[in-house]
């Protein structure tokens, strides 16, 4: 064996330990980087060379075979799915909370109280049908009730608009993430063709994929070249190798699946008829669409039904009565064609707005003390004419409130559970891919010693060479 070879052996050790130290440093530097997987330098013994005239083979030092990342694809997938479900519930929680606030009258006034007040004012009127002040307060309380119908409608629509704004933002984010995954697909392919293992790019792609996956249900698999193929369930491919499809939103008419008028429809370039609003399930987009098209639409429909029924039933009695001027057939609420957007259109009739004397309390003309119409109207409060004769107006409104509450609380308990699951999954991922400072520090020292020792080998070889050279003197 030649001495120069010993130099080389020492040199490979130094190179390997330098690489290991650099990788350790890289790990430590990325301790807090989200989605980072710790890396390891894999070394293998250099192929021994047959030295002339010797029986045994002597090793030639080490070689860096590759730098690998410690990562479990299955766990990554679970984290991705868990994150999707969690963001689905978080997104839902956010908008349901806003919706709940609209109906929250636990600590203050709300429609429930105003409807009771409305009917009670008619009871007051039945006490003193000839008292003008009471008539004023009947009109005032009716106006307050009408205003609250408008308020609820407006605020629910504000939640809807908020949802639409988020939908628009999200569709842009989806496009940029899909683009990112596509770009990373190509970079990774190039790097792998060159023979390297682009660990950090792989981490980045996993991270982008995790974000992308949080928007809706999608399936991911690798094609032959190691590129991600992303399919959105029910919609079609989102990323295929070097191709990324685009999502966009546009305002459109109401449809029969609960999408309100002028709200956003989602379209995708990957779907045949491009409209995918009702195909998207799960994730943030799924949550927003579900709340907007199911929860909120149902709430508004029921609110409209309530507004229409109050207005219609009060009118039908009021029109039988006589006003203070002895006129029959005057409407109390303005006429509405149907339930469609009734909570928006409900208002006092012009006659009642003009004069409180147009409120009919009497069942016969010229009878200021007659209160029978007022009594009949106040009696509507306990009349079961909502929900096919099964519920009073109070019951009906209370059930809207409690339905909102049930939806919010069900989702919240699911969310808390999912949070626990995510904590668990993240822990598992951290155990596999996370960076431990202790371990890295220990490794650092170990590699430093290796570096020192490899240097020592060169020093010894140098001294040996010196000895050999000195022999000639």
């Amino acid at each position: 064996m030649g001495l120069p070879n010993v130099f080389n052996t020492g040199r490979t050790g130094m190179i390997a330990s330098k690489a290991a130290i650099a990788t350790t440093g890289h790990n430590i530097a990325n301790t807090n980087t989200e989605g980072f997987s710790r890396q390891r330098v894999l070394t293998s013994a250099e192929t021994p060379r047959n030295s002339a005239g010797m029986q045994s083979l002597i090793g030639n030092g080490t070689a860096i075979s590759r730098v690998e990342r410690i990562n479990d694809e299955y766990v990554e997938k679970q984290v991705r799915n868990g994150a999707r479900d969690l963001s689905h519930m978080e997104e839902k929680d956010l908008v349901l909370r806003q919706t709940e606030d609209v109906f929250n009258e636990m600590n203050g006034d709300g429609l429930n109280r105003l409807i009771s007040r409305f009917f009670n004012e008619f009871r007051k009127l039945s006490n003193e049908p000839d008292n003008e002040a009471v008539r004023q307060s009947v009109r005032e309380s009716s106006q307050a009730m009408v205003n609250d119908f408008h308020r609820i409608r407006r605020e629910v629509e504000a939640v809807r608009e908020h949802i639409d704004a988020r939908l628009e933002g999200y569709s842009k984010e989806i496009n940029s993430l899909a683009e990112q995954v596509k770009d990373l697909n190509m970079q990774i392919k190039t790097a792998e063709l060159a023979g390297g293992s682009p660990n950090d790019l792989l981490d980045k792609r996993d991270q982008a994929m995790k974000k992308l996956g949080s928007y809706m249900e999608m399936s991911v698999h690798k094609d032959g070249g190691g590129s991600f193929v992303v399919d959105v369930k029910g919609v079609g491919p989102l990323v295929v190798g070097p191709m990324a499809e685009k999502f966009s939103v546009f305002r459109s008419k109401a449809d029969d699946q609960g999408k309100p008028e002028a709200a956003f429809d989602v379209q995708s370039t990957s779907h045949a008829n491009s409209l995918v609003t009702h195909q998207i399930k799960g994730g943030k987009l799924g949550a927003l669409l579900e709340v907007r098209d199911k929860t909120l639409s149902t709430i508004l429909d029921r609110l409209d039904e309530l507004a229409y029924n109050i207005s219609d039933s009060v009118n039908s009695i009021h029109q039988q009565g006589f006003t203070r001027h002895g006129v029959q057939g005057v409407e109390f609420f303005g006429h509405m064609g149907g339930k469609e957007r009734a909570s928006e259109f409900i208002q006092l009739s012009d006659a009642v707005r003009d004069s409180v004397n147009n409120i009919a309390a009497a069942a016969q003309p010229d009878s200021p003390g007659d209160n029978r119409i007022a009594i009949a109207i106040s009696g509507l409060q306990s009349e079961k004419f909502m929900n096919e004769g099964k519920a009073t107006m109070d019951d009906f409104y209370n059930s809207i409130v409690s339905d909102v509450g049930v939806a919010a609380s069900k989702n919240r308990s699911g969310m808390n559970q999912q949070k626990d699951i995510m904590t668990q999954l993240n822990k598992i991922r951290d155990q596999i891919s996370g960076v431990s400072i202790d371990e890295e520090t220990a490794n650092l020292m170990q590699f430093q010693h290796m570096f020192d020792a490899s240097a020592k080998v060169i020093q010894v070889a140098d001294e040996m060479l010196k000895t050999v050279l000195d022999m000639r003197r």
């Binding site: 016969q364 200021p368 029978r372 009594i375 306990s382 409104y397 520090t441």
Partner: protein, 304 residues
Amino acid sequence: MEGLQQQSATLRKLNTPSDDPIGAAKVLEIRTDKVNNDQFQMNTRMAETFLENTDHIIGELADIVVRAKEIALGQASGASSNEGTRLGVAEEVTQLFQQAVATANRRIGDRYLLGGFKTQRPPVDPEGRYTGDDGQTMVEIAKDVFISSNVPGVEVFNTHPKSSNDGRSVYSPNTLGRGPASEGAMDGELAYENVNVFDEIQNLRIALLTGDLDGVRNTLDRFDQVHSKLVACRAKVGSRLQGLQSTSQALERHNVTNAQLGSVLEDADMAQVVSDLTKEETVFKSALASSQRLIQPTLLDFLK
């Protein structure tokens, strides 16, 4: 911990519907009940005021009738009356008549009590003719319990009133499925001769002025009929007042029960909240303390 803090700040455990959806609906129901009951109690008090005043009016009318009968008795026999005394008391009878009309036209605020639905004009004109109707102002004093808060003058002044005097169709409760039950006129008693308070006093006056002793004597029996009718009316009003009181007490009890239920659903148990809060705080602190221990020591600390 945040939830507990909100509970302790508001003293309520129901702060949003999602805290307890079913309870929240129940609370709203109870509140509606409470508002309604308060209104029913207001109604009861209003009805009480009206009925008590009606009672006073009828009482005064009865007194007037008694006085008129005394006069009639005094003047009934030729022995105790002569033209002079008759003319003298006739003047008093005129006064009684005017007093009766004024009493019948008494009002609370701007509302005439005895006019049926015609509450905005005097129910009796200066000639003693009734201008009101037989409308009964029904008042809801508890859910679906109605009581009439007035007695139409036609029922008070006449012993055997005929049906609705103005002939207009009376609002039918059946068209709406609910409404005040009209007691209606006592049709079956039309066979009896009707006696009217004002007519009778007027009769007495005319009889006195014309010296018609038979006429004076005739009024005696009829004054008795009128008087017993007035007493019967007072008894009716009295029993209504009693009914009002018992209903009002029932409402009171209902309110108390509702308040208890509402409190159970809505109010936070402070002892529980505070002890939970302390528990959570301990957990939080120990978590902080243990994580402090966990984070601090690394190998680096020992390499210095």
